[in-house]
Symmetry: D2
């Protein structure tokens, strides 16, 4: 991922350097397992750890020669070892190391994301509570529907983020699989006990059945889930972009003192951060698609997924963390314009209270059809300027009927406490 969208922690996590260190972590965990089973001399692991060399440049140089990254890694790692080198990578196939280390990377990446998500959840919950009783117009199809509260909107974001968290916790668990089962998954050259002990040391569970690798439906689910979550963030961003439209003007993205909205138009303030979030979610969908095609590998594995994963795992996890951080920044500095919200509610002269009026009529004995037509007619009159507002228009048609309670905002906020009580 380009530096612009890569949080430092992800750059480090996915660096070549760190990859080799994770490989070493896995190799040593396996040696320890052998040791604890009495299969290799006591102390071998300690010796190996002491003399292991992780030198990115040197490994890359050797890879040029042998055309195989794990072999290059082993050559370099063991180059200063003594006899213990014999037990380094003993009985293993490259994928035992790579795939187990990949799980470690993904687990740690997910933990970083979850950490950020927790902060975001806390903040959005507060924002929702703060605006629980801030009336705003609800819109469906982009058209005014009925009044609601801005806090309820934010609560819906909070709930979206909470679902994201639940999914990521689930995926962190799903991906926390190790695999030390050899070239075709039958433990031919390394007994299952070694896998069990090594995985435990690494904080992973053994994959119940592997081939040469951990089955890729698990990784596809991880990235498909991230795409689903990206869609949720896009939903929030799209809402803010819409509310920041000139004609709506209900919220405003952070905009620093010195910032300039346009090189040409000095008056512009644009929702560029939220637009960016929308773009990033498209990338996440693209990565998910590539991952979905990685599932149906040939036989005990083909390596076609590898080039894909070298790109999409760092890219997707970096982008996702970046997106959360950006969303956090946006929400933290979001300007909320209560006056404009209230103005917008009334801009259609009471039309948005039409359902309430309809139900009021029904509850006073009108048939549904009759009531619907009455309210529709009155609405048309208002829309065409023949009546000042819906209450007046209905009043003229139904003299003597007091419908004023149908036009109260409090009505639309009545159940908010009850909804909020379902969280957090």
């Amino acid at each position: 991922m380009i530096p612009r969208y890569s949080p430092r922690v992800m750059q480090e996590l996915w660096s070549e350097e760190n990859k080799f260190h994770l490989w070493l972590e896995v190799e040593l965990a396996v040696m320890e397992a052998y040791e604890s089973l009495g299969m290799i001399p006591l102390g071998s692991t300690a010796q190996a750890r002491k003399h292991a060399l992780v030198n990115v440049e040197e490994i890359n140089r050797v890879e040029e020669e042998v055309g195989h990254d794990v072999i290059a890694f082993i050559k370099v790692a063991t180059s200063s070892m003594g006899d213990e080198a014999r037990f380094f990578h003993f009985g293993l196939t490259s994928s035992d190391v790579i795939d187990t280390a990949l799980s470690l990377s993904l687990k740690r990446a997910t933990q970083e994301i979850l950490k950020e998500l927790d902060a975001l959840l806390t903040f959005s919950w507060e924002l929702a509570c703060k605006h629980k009783d801030t009336p705003t117009i609800g819109r469906t199809h982009g058209v005014h529907a009925e009044p609601t509260s801005f806090g309820l909107k934010v609560l819906s974001w909070y709930a979206e983020l909470k679902r994201i968290k639940e999914r990521l916790i689930r995926e962190e668990e799903q991906i926390s699989l190790g695999k030390i089962s050899g070239a075709v998954g039958n433990y031919a050259n390394v007994p299952p006990e070694v896998e069990k002990i090594a995985c435990e040391k690494l904080g992973l569970k053994p994959c119940p059945v592997s081939t040469q690798i951990i089955p890729r439906d698990i990784h596809a689910e991880y990235l498909a889930t991230m795409a689903v979550c990206g869609g949720g963030i896009e939903r929030i961003a799209t809402e803010i972009r819409s509310l920041m439209r000139t004609e709506i003007g209900e919220v405003e993205e952070p905009f620093s003192e010195k910032q300039r909205g346009s090189s040409a138009m000095p008056h512009k303030k644009n929702p560029i951060l939220c637009e960016r979030l929308c773009g990033l979610s498209r990338l996440l969908r693209g990565y998910a698609l590539s991952a979905l095609e990685d599932v149906a590998l040939w036989h005990e594995r083909d390596i076609s997924h590898s080039s894909v994963e070298r790109v999409i795992f760092p890219d997707a996890t970096s982008l996702f963390l970046y997106s959360l951080k950006l969303l956090h920044k946006i929400l933290s500095w979001l300007k909320v314009n209560r006056e404009r919200m209230e103005e917008n509610i009334w801009m259609t002269k009471g039309l948005v209270f039409s359902e309430r009026a309809l139900l009021e009529l029904i509850s006073r004995g009108f048939g549904r059809e009759e009531a619907y037509l009455l309210v529709q007619e009155a609405s048309t009159e208002v829309r065409e300027g023949k009546a000042s507002d819906l209450k007046t228009a209905l009043g003229k048609k139904l003299p003597g009927l007091d419908l004023s309670q149908a036009f109260s905002l409090s009505y639309y906020l009545a159940y908010l406490d009850q909804i909020f009580e379902r969280f957090p």
Copy 2:
């Protein structure tokens, strides 16, 4: 979905007729809820149920006129009702009905799929057990790697199907959400209690925060999951297709007596069923993608997802059930050619035992590098016809060393019982 790939049960489930019946189910559950809360006259629901009319043709005719399907449905449904009609759809918005009914459809569709999946799981477990000790060559990169057992391959399919089951159970639960919260999700015209009672009657949970609709990340996750699962089925199908290649010939798809493989080539037997499964998984990925784009709706909802869902939910669930049934048929009649499997293991003259030989050398004191080069050299001799087989080639290089135990098949099956014990 075209009839060719639509199991009858899905055709019925997704029929217009059934859709309207589910809408009625939801409307009546809401009336019952009102009744139990004393908000409408006792007996209204019973009356409504008795007189409700569900006439697809008539509803479609009215829709032409009013341009709104739920309004058309209500008009027709209540056309023979008496006073109880006033309480039909009372306080509801269309999406309360449509979305809750959609959850019912998806829940039922998932249950049908899970039923088929259970049968498939049982069968594939048996198939795995039957071939637990059938040796076969494991292949990575399409190239012979090491011997393994055909039962282990099937166990890996079984585990794939089991993960599919776990995912679908999870998704069934996720999708089992009802939503009776009105036009913008604030319960303005219908109290939360009604939703709670109605949902309970329908076997659903209330969606904690809805807008006009249930948030679409939930539906996107459903279809993204189905795409992940489709990838798993594709993996199994791809394996069978490969094993049925002329040069491999280890398994054979069912082929009926009268069937013809080709209009031109009377000798052909082709893995057309498995190829079909691969194609269908591509469709599932396409549907997931469309669903992922449905998440970021505008404000309290826009209806752009609706046309998408009219197509992809019936199509994806039908295809998926069809795929499982087809896979079940394939596995049930799969011919397994043990002789060919054994021949294939030995066709490379012992080369596939090279890792075992390598480890044997290391464990007898050779350094890893030295051993690797020795075995690689011997392998090259075999490949170039300079030696009859690997055992002989190594024997010549290392006279006096008995490596015969490195060439035993039993070695590769040693841990199978232990793996199988992890299931079912």
Copy 3:
């Protein structure tokens, strides 16, 4: 595709009945070719045509038995033939027939689409011309940018549709390929001359190199192109949806007298047709994706693409034609609210003229930075209510400078004739 979104002409084109008729067309064209080359008895084709039976039910019945659709078709088609039956399908492989017929279907489907597109182009050109001088605010990031003309917006739609037309003409040509080259594309049992003559009769060109089939990158390009075109339609629909927002109110989708926008809210008029167009474009993207995965078939072909194509070709072409028809309807009845457009231009009190003011200052000798800051400051004053409008605010800062010509709408429409002259 569900009937709701399938124009009748596409339903017929993609019917089983028509498919078999196209197969027959191909088979007979091949017989004619043989005849004209003197390879089969004169008159065979005429006899075959006379006695050929195309009975969908019967063919399906036989397919159940033989598990192969072309073989079933041949059996039924030739069932009443005499000796000429020997030359029916002579030397052909199924795909010669299926793939050549598929090209005919796609060609015809594309022609239907192009016909509709022409009508749409004519209409949108007129609409653009009609509103060439209708001022409206241009928006970037959803925020007011500078005035422009509504006709220019529509011209941009027109240009989008024109690009769609160019692409489809190109794709019609690309897909107009026949293939009568036998089981593996080497003309083993049918000489290239037959292909040449038969293709000519069918209005197709011979595929320069085929395998068993026409290479699928060609079909993938067809559907990828359709997805690109769908994106263009989505852009137009998104614009209309936005302009129909309550706060904007510049245009209105057609809404019939008896239509109802909402079952709950009698005042609603929603852009449901444009929302539908947006949804349909998501489906087109999904189909493209599935088609892209059909390219890399195995060797001389595997049949995994077939199940995909049974679904996506009818679905995509039907949806696309439907979308064009729907867009045509929307544009035909689009209400354009010129007053509202003008009001919206001025709603920000001249801020949208800021770039013009900036350039005016620069051209009068101010430095770019200095001018930018001046205009930005004045803009802020307007936005914060400290000045009534931008002209006044700048006037106060720069007494003696007449900037009134920077606030003229005509300035923004000055080059429209020149732009329009580039078309049609």
Copy 4:
């Protein structure tokens, strides 16, 4: 894109440094246009070019402050200019610069790709010619079909690459669009003549109607096309992977002396380069998808596409060029095993000649059905070991009939010259 998959030329082309240089190129072309129209003082451009500063670090520093990359660029670029700075970026909007420069980048990237493609085409044509008469078995469904020539396979790759070339030439032309039309595409602050002259200087055509930007269907088509092309490369790679399977062994990817196939199995030679190509094509599909979602921007533009394009344009063009280079390397060193090809043809004991036998029988007067059943029966006997080969089996059934000419390989190569003559 990670360095591993980024050819140097693409790294440079997409560097920050080069981007700013292209921006400068565009700004100066516009100044020249102004100059040639007499709108700014003669010599301004020369002065600007002389004093323009492109300092990546400094620009990035300023961007941090103003939150806008083009404004930062202008500030730095003009920082050492004199009065000519007033005319730098005069009348332009950021996108005039960015979008026009992007077209330059894409044009140059496409040219680099086309250059590599030409070399690949030349080589693959030679390879096809070299193996025109090398018999090999054609496979459909992974199952032996009929003999063909390996050269014809390669010719089909050549034709695939030729279609790729034609598409890319088309796309290079499509993308060669400039746009100097201001903030909303109406040339409010810069007359169309400037665009025309500037574009000509830059080797681009003016976009006939733009909004703030060049419409994104054009960019989506570019990347969708690249995904289609990626599918073609994947097809070639998949074929090689298959032919390199142990059981098939007909070709071999390059494998260097010191290379190691596996850390565990010293005997392995794996088609890792072709597998990599397959993976990369999945990434290209993902990028296309993201690009397709960039089309429907809001009004005169929203900037959501920008973050997407920062990633996918460099990534897709780099990967694509890398893929072509890799494919070139693979083909250049491909080992073709003619003996194995011939062995494989005969491994099914003549079954692959079944269609030829069928046609032979028909041409000798047998009915199609009768002949089909005869050949199918004989095939079954061979398959079940009841007959040594198909010729013998048929001979027994039809004594006196000499069918030997149906079993000649030359028959399948008869039309190759005619096919090859269609190229290059």
